[in-house]
Amino acid sequence: MLSLILISIAALFFTGIIIRTKSIASGRKGPGILQPVFDVLKLFRKGSVYSETSGFVFRIAPIIYFSSVVLAMLTVPFGASKGFISFNGDFIFFAYVLALGKFFSIIGALDTGSSFEGMGASREALYSMFAEPAFFILMGSLALITGHTSFQEIFSTLHLGSSITYAIAILASFVLLLIAMIENSRMPIDDPKTHLELTMIHEVMILDNSGFDLGLILSTGYIKFAMYGALIFNLFVGLIPYGYAILIFFALQAFLAILIGIIESFIARSRMNHNAQFIVVLSSVSLLIFFGVLLVLGKFI
């Protein structure tokens, strides 16, 4: 339960901090940190325009996309405190329920019959397929090193002892951070600020969404960031008492947001045809973690 509240709070600030960091880095003052939340609230109050081509799929897609991410968020624990949903193998559920949301966002985009949205949908389908093994290999290695298969048990027994475990944890945060970037269609996979529809992935898929639906899609993005932030936090929390842990949680989320802002300010988006290779590299980093864990456990001679 605790994680649900904390992630929701972090979600309010996360995107705002990214935007603020980017504005400062480019020498502007930038909007307030809560501006994204106001945007969403404004969208919720607006009417909507639907494409004539679209049908029921387009109307239900944002709702299922949002619900799937919320449900995934419910499985994320906060240190030793369980998530709302917690069972052995809940990380499998986490990944698959996110995939359900993605499925709907893809077919929602295809429902408009727009060539641009089809393009975005095609890219999204391909990249999410590549990103998934990385997550599973990572979670598999963590399951191997701790001997448990639920988020909460894995994270509460993950003790950072030797230097190699630190290396594993840092690599793991790297993987999770990049998965978060891919999932949210951020640099270096996708540029949320781009002007040309031909070079977009996520933004081009939601061209026809408006009003409440667009608000849902935007808030889903905010939640996703905070959710992956919470997963990274869980890698390091161990059994720190709650008071400190909550402080560290928010500090870490803010740090990640600033980090993403800085990355986005100073890195250019890769060429589309390099994205796939980039994501596969992520899987190899996960494999490194996997072999690192095998080393730690002494399974290699």
Binding site: S51, E52, T53, V57, S67, L71, F103, D111, G140, D208
Partner: protein, 675 residues
């Protein structure tokens, strides 16, 4: 005994009756027969699952020996799946075939074959005698072959049918070698003699025997590289037959493999890892080729190969679990495999039936020509979407449950395995994840291009939804798909007995799924409920907020371009273009293009045809060389009558001379033996 006679009488009686009935009468007779057979076999199967095993001994002739019939929990599970598929498929088929009402003779044949197929598939689950098994197997193969040939005026259909026939017989050849191998040593075709013989001859011989049976059954199941008949046969057959072929016919191969695992003693670790590896390849290869297909039913056929791979992964894990005396891994592996057999028969038949609806409405299966069908056929679209989500293994549907069982088995085993196996586990779950991701590309493409957007092709006829009655069985299947997703434990508990058959092989302690880590399925079910509730709540909120707001309709945003045509939409090929480029090495795509050139370009075209590389290397090349070799003997067939008479005389002479030179031959064989 009475029930058995009744069961055998039904197909015979219906087959005799059908030619004399009107088209409507045929439909009623066939369906009545299917129901009656389902009631009888289903009743026995349920009895067995409740704990009363069914055994019967019939006296056979001097060749076959006594014929033993037996329904154990494994047969019962498969019989129930077969019955379900035939009940829904038959009902759907009645309406699907009604547009062919005028082809009376063709319909009679089709109706008789349908009954024969049903009876023979049920029979295969029951018969415990190799000789009779082969005969029934042949009946099954032939009736499936003739069912495929329904549209026999189409040359491609005949070719696909012949391909099926030949490959079926290669499969029978392997099975025959297996059964004869045992009977030549023991003098009996009974399955028990296989069990006893392999019990006394463990090691290389058992492995060889299992290998023969495995290849025989794997051809029917469609494991890569024995899969090449599947993508031809499924699109050629009428929709309800494709649904049944994919739903249960290929599963009889899985049944055979499982049955042989129960009978033959092999090194489970070795066999398990071999099956696992083959299944991973099948799963990945199947889905990777499925993505390329432009023909909706061919796409679904390649997906059957993928799902056979997933089932195989379950069987492989189960075997490895037996080898390691690990009750959790072995029970979850076999349970996952068996549940996926049911799941796949549900969503794949639903997909084929909805594809049939599409074909009926548009008369084409070419994905590139379709589009925007969701508005014209909303119910078909919804059902297709449901099945597509389920086949991708997404919660809250049934596919997720069986894949979750496999994952649970894998992760549960992770802590006990040593390094080589840990890498194997990593490979397996990465493969499962990749299969899931690729399936998602495939079905977003299939659903998105066929049902969404706007029409890509002008049809001269009106496209409309099929009749409500035709949709009834589809909704029924859909309800099952959701039910398994929401109440997984109910279905898992039925699997306790079939799984026990396997765990008993190594006397593993396993009595129920309690304590095997499957209580979590309850949580999975609950989470699925939560997902549905959440979607409904958000839907309600939106409805409430949007009540008084402006809801306008306008054309799709064309990014400034104001005269979009349906031709501008993303096509299926463009949707998978970057994927095709990335994995280009694995595929063989025949391109036929004429590029745009010059300032005022004239016409241009671009056409691609995906082809199967394995088929090319395994079937096409050997066939070409075989043909080249055999062409050398063409002089024998020279068309001159006197030569043919000469061959006849030579043949008769050689037959007559056998007794004369028998002594010499015998002496030669004796001589060889002495060597």
């Amino acid at each position: 005994m009475i029930l058995l006679n009744l069961f055998l009488l039904i197909p015979v009686f219906t087959a005799v009756l059908i030619p004399f009935l009107s088209a409507k009468g045929k439909a009623i007779a066939v369906y009545a027969a299917v129901i009656l057979m389902a009631v009888i076999s289903g009743y026995q199967a349920v009895e067995v699952l409740m704990g009363h095993e069914f055994n019967l001994m019939l006296s056979g002739n001097f060749v076959s020996g006594d014929i033993r019939l037996r329904i154990d929990a494994l047969s019962a599970w498969f019989i129930l799946i077969i019955n379900f598929s035939f009940l829904t498929g038959g009902f759907y088929g009645i309406f699907y075939m009604s547009s062919y009402r005028l082809q009376t003779k063709n319909l009679s044949l089709q109706a008789i074959l349908f009954i024969l197929l049903n009876a023979s598939l049920t029979g295969l689950c029951v018969i415990q005698n190799g000789f009779i098994f082969l005969i029934v197997w042949e009946i099954m193969a032939l009736s499936a072959f003739l069912s495929i040939l329904f549209e026999h005026e189409n040359a491609a259909v005949v070719k696909a049918g012949i391909n099926f026939l030949i490959q079926s017989h290669i499969s029978i050849l392997f099975l025959m070698i297996g059964f004869i191998l045992v009977s030549s040593k023991t003098g009996s075709y009974d399955f028990d003699s296989i069990y006893l013989y392999s019990f006394h001859h463990q090691g290389a011989f058992s492995l060889l025997l299992f290998g023969f049976f495995f290849i025989g059954f794997a051809i029917k199941a469609g494991f890569v590289p024995f899969h090449t008949w599947l993508p031809y046969a499924h699109p050629a057959a009428p929709a309800h037959i494709s649904g049944i072929m994919s739903g249960v016919l290929i599963k009889i191969g899985i049944f055979g493999i499982l049955r042989m695992l129960l009978l033959i003693h092999v090194d489970y670790k070795m066999v398990g890892s071999a099956i696992l590896l083959l299944s991973i390849i099948s799963g990945l290869y199947g889905v990777m080729l499925a993505i390329l297909q432009h023909n909706l039913k061919k796409l679904l056929a390649y997906h059957s190969i993928e799902n056979i791979g997933i089932i195989g992964i379950g069987i492989g894990l189960g075997c490895i679990g037996l080898g390691f005396h690990n009750p959790v891994l072995s029970s979850l592996g076999f349970a996952g495999a068996l549940l996926h057999v049911l799941n796949h028969s549900l969503f794949k038949s639903l997909l084929f039936f909805t594809a049939g609806n599409v074909y009926q409405a548009t008369h084409t299966l070419d994905i590139e020509k379709l589009g925007g069908l969701a508005r014209k056929m909303p119910q078909t679209a919804l059902l297709f979407l449901l099945a597509a989500l389920a086949i991708c293994g997404l919660p809250p549907f049934n596919g997720f449950i069986s894949e979750f069982l496999l994952y649970s088995g894998l992760f549960g085993w992770l802590h006990q395995a040593d390094v080589a196996w840990v890498i194997g586990i990593g490979l397996s779950f990465s493969a499962l994840v990749l299969i899931g991701g690729l399936a998602m590309i495939c079905f977003t493409k299939a659903f998105g291009i066929v049902f969404l957007g706007s029409e890509r092709h002008e049809f001269s006829h009106e496209i409309k939804e099929v009749s409500v009655l035709q949709l009834v069985p589809l909704y029924f299947i859909g309800a099952f798909i959701i039910a398994i997703g929401l109440f997984p434990n109910t279905f898992l508990n039925i699997l306790v007995q079939p799984v026990q058959l396997f765990t008993r092989l190594q006397a593993l302690p396993f009595t129920s799924f309690q304590g095997q880590g499957t209580e979590v399925l309850q949580s999975v079910g609950r989470s699925s409920w939560l997902l549905i509730a959440l979607v409904m709540v958000v839907w309600g909120i939106r409805k409430f907020i949007q009540q008084k707001k402006l809801r306008a309709q306008s054309p799709t945003w064309g990014c400034g371009y104001t005269a979009p045509t349906p031709q501008l939409q993303y096509t299926a090929s463009s949707f998978v273009k970057s994927y095709t480029k990335l994995f280009g090495l694995i595929f063989m795509i025949q391109k036929n293009e004429k590029e745009l050139t010059g300032v005022f370009p004239s016409e241009a075209h671009y056409e691609t045809n995906p082809y199967d590389k394995i088929e090319k290397w395994l079937i096409d090349y050997p066939l070409t060389y075989l043909k080249l070799f055999l062409n050398g003997f063409r002089f024998v067939q020279n068309g001159k009558l006197q030569f043919y008479i000469l061959y006849g005389i030579l043949f008769i002479l050689s037959v007559l001379s056998i007794p004369l030179i028998y002594e010499q031959i015998n002496g030669f064989i004796e001589f060889l033996k002495q060597l």
